[in-house]
Amino acid sequence: MKRREFLKGTAAVAGTATIASPAISQTPTELTFYYPVAVGGPITKLVDTLAAEFEKENAGIKVKPVYAGTYQETLVKLITAHKSGGAPALSVVLSTDMFTLIDDDVIVAFDDFVKTDDDKKWLQSFFPAFMENSQTGGKTWGAPFQRSTVVLYWNKELFKETGLDPEKAPASWAEQLAFAEKLTKVDASGTATQWGVQVPSTGFPYWLFQGFSTQAGAILMNQEGNRTFFDKPEVIEALTYWVDLSRKHKVHPPGIVEWGTTPKDFFEKKVAMMWTTTGNLTNVRNNAKFPFGVAMLPAGKRRGSPTGGGNFHISSKAPKEQQEAAFRFARWCTMPERAAQWCVDTGYVAVRKDAFDTPVLKKYVSDFPAAAVARDQLEFAVAELSTHENQRVTKALNDGLQAALTGTKTPVQAMKDSQAEAERILVRYR
């Protein structure tokens, strides 16, 4: 891009001959910014608007947002670009890839750019639950941007038809099962036409599973990211509960449930309750043709959900002035008003508490109380599973979960195997 502009400039100079080149002396800093799209809605348009507004207020910086695919693809593009020397100064990738990015020296900590008191205040403004996946070894490596948690959506119409109180979501594991049993409808031949509850298990089953495991009172990994606890009794108890929903109680679709079509199943009334990200809130609001409710996940021994979603990261290889620009843009995007607007537009949780005091979000929450559920659940939220060699370790867990859900392994065996594999990978990081 730069070179093309340079060429264009040269051509212009050659053409007019007499004009000197004042443009060169004040070339704006160009900031390339990779971002993924993981939920429904016009995200690319929203990001372009953010960039344009930022440029208006910051004359010296040109922001070039690049849509880079899914989270996984964005990470691949970021690391490939880093290895070949052309890394974008700023990128949004999963907060859980922090250790991977640090191990490969792809990113720099935000602390180096925090200078003024305002900066310091900014760094402290985020919800603590979101910072758990953004900090390690006393440094902050990511700034929360599009963050989410898992919540339960329920179809009030189906609740009413079944004779359940349409305003009351299940509050405990026992209630969730009891409600789901009532909500599951079976036709004459014994085939279910409507399921009680559905928890998707393709792609990243570990994330939804972390809801169950946290509720069972388990923590899956240590803060250093070099040890996992997949075979602890609480974890096995959590998996057994999930597996039993489908295999024993038959109130949950069998086998592996597709993440992408879960909201659609909900819209089609094929399932009465679903677990999915708060990032789908706006999607559900626009597409559900029936009254629906949003609730915190039911409690086991306690309430619980993992946080999820993406952080801003600054690349280590970008030139200094681009890094500074990246820092300013990240800070600007997470100011209370902008965080509030982003929450309204997408359904992601506003990443800081004071965003909920802005007029925009106050009005939104009073019109649509469901939007506050995710915020209130943050109190019970834990860090998303994140370790060194994160992709490999989460795959070890995912394989185990899928094996148990499809019935090829018992929960005990599945978690033992996952733990053994994770142990093999992580032992060299201690």
């Binding site: 031949s189 085939t191 393709t202 086998g255 592996i256 079509t261 795959k395 995912n398």
Partner: protein, 291 residues
């Protein structure tokens, strides 16, 4: 002197193609071979020579063996079926039937579509409860199956998608070959009172053999090369039930950034395919031509 200029001319004409081939095929292949003997470089741990260490690790990895088994079943499922279907379709649209162009186009459409689009369409077909397949089977009484979400059916499902995508492509080659067969052969057979089946078995099929060899080589390569739909439909799941060799290589290389292991596995795949191609050309080619 003259011969020398001719040689130089020849080499000069070859040079552009050779340069590109070397740059984009041979050099990466050699680079991969070299990388496969080294550990993956990390910022705090530079790459080190480890001989056959990567290979040993792959042979110890149960997912490799599963991917290999899956891939063999995938090949067994796609190759004969797509070739058979292609031949059948070609024979059909080679006849003078009403709406021939339309049928030809219909058969060829899957080939034109990008695999990613195809996979998304099929994702909808396989969706439980309200997907096309579920609705269709619903007509014959209730029947509920989570096609892609069960370890028993997932591999079969992705195999069917590959067949659907490939058969139309191979049909084009058969159609071209059928049209090369002289009509006088058909007339002679008709005069002799040969049945249609007999004519196909003794005349058309043997004359199609060179095409079959070509298609076979392609089908084998595709069976180890087509993974786009895996990425879209199952990401190798459930529990690696649809993980194919190339998908596993992508996962190792670009998911885990373990370039050493990914290189070693690429070399294994390359060697395997090379051997198969060699066998096809040396053993089959001798029997291919109609004498």
């Amino acid at each position: 002197m003259r011969r020398l200029t001719a040689t130089i001319h020849g080499w000069l004409l070859l040079l552009p193609a050779m340069a590109f081939l070397a740059l984009f095929t041979h050099w990466p292949a050699i680079g991969t071979l070299i990388d496969s003997f080294y550990s993956t470089p990390r910022p705090r741990r530079p790459s080190a020579f480890m001989g056959l260490g990567n290979y040993r690790e792959i042979f110890d990895d149960p997912i490799f063996w599963q991917a290999l088994t899956n891939n063999l079943w995938f090949a067994v499922g796609t190759i004969p079926v797509s070739i058979g279907l292609a031949m059948l379709m070609a024979l059909w649209v080679n006849n003078h039937i009403a709406g021939r162009t339309l049928v030809r186009m219909a058969f060829f459409t899957p080939t034109v579509l990008p695999m990613i689009a195809v996979a998304n369409i099929w994702l909808f077909f396989y969706t439980p409860q309200y997907g096309l397949l579920a609705q269709f089977l619903g007509l014959f009484g209730s029947f509920s199956q989570n096609w892609l979400g069960s370890k028993d059916t997932a591999l079969l499902c992705v195999t069917i998608v590959a067949v659907w995508k490939e058969a139309g492509f191979f049909m084009i080659f058969y159609l071209a070959a059928l049209q090369q067969i002289s009509p006088s052969l058909g007339e002679a057979a008709a005069l002799e009172g040969a049945s249609r089946w007999y004519f196909f078995r003794r005349v058309q099929f043997p004359l199609l053999m060179p095409t079959t060899l070509f298609v076979l080589v392609n089908a084998v390569i595709n069976a180890f090369r087509t993974v786009d739909h895996i990425v879209v439909m199952t990401r190798g799941g459930p529990d690696n039930a649809t993980s194919l060799l190339l998908f596993r290589i992508y996962e190792l290389g670009f998911g885990f950034w373990d370039t050493g292991l990914a290189s070693a596995m690429t070399v294994i795949l390359l060697l395997g395919l090379g051997l198969v191609a060699l066998a096809q050309y040396t053993f089959l080619e001798k029997r291919v031509h109609y004498r």
